[in-house]
Amino acid sequence: MISVDEKFFGISIAQRRTRRAFVIGVGCATVLCGWVFLHEAASHRDRGLGLLALLALQLILQLPRFLGGFRSGGMVRPFLVVKPAPEQVQSLFGSHKEFGQDAPLDERETGERDRIHFLAYRIALKFALMMFLILFVLSDTSFQWMIRLAPVFFFALTMILLGLPQTIILWTEPDMEPEG
């Protein structure tokens, strides 16, 4: 389920530990950009979004694409690939491999994709319920600062959820064996 050429920015992602490092990198960059965005958006509240906030927002929207899953070019192959008709392949786009087009997932990968999406759904559900519970419990206490930070938590949750299935795949898929 990993990208066809098994490379990301020229670095091999066949090894699980490399993939994990990339996942941590993308996660940290997302959190950092999220923090910059929220901070800048708050400081420019009366004048619209600041330039830095817009830049951070743009990066936030782009970062999940590095993980892949939705389009070619990320670390995970697209979850759904519509095979072009043979005449289109020949006349317009050339062969799949020439243009780096990812092949559709096979039966094992499709099963794995479904299992991992269900796992991500369960994690997200538990996480969201836990956050609501914490905020509900804390609403009558002196932890008001935490309530004020609720939008930040929900923003972080949304960002994490956007790439959670891809993250699980990159984190758990074993080292890729040579083709021989």
Binding site: M1, L105, D106, E107, R108, E109, M176, E177, E179, G180
Partner: protein
Amino acid sequence: MNNAPPKSPGESGLYNRIAVLRAERGISRQQLADAMEVNYQTIGFLERGDYSPSLKLALSLAEYFGLPVEAIFSKQPLQPLSQQIYGRAVERRTPEEGKKP
């Protein structure tokens, strides 16, 4: 490369001879994967017994190798093919040989 059938069935609970048959015929994982229209990593998962194939894929593999499905996959540990075939030959020959003076 170890071509002996796996000693443990892996996560799927199935033993198989894919690695042996592939080595015997000098086929790479990529070639077999292309013929089966799957990713070559899936062939690795199958060989290790970490993935239980669909009936369609199992039948395709059987057709490709020209063997019955039960010669490729089994719920019981598989003996090496030569031992299995030779063993049967010996069993078949023994009663007839016994009649000879």
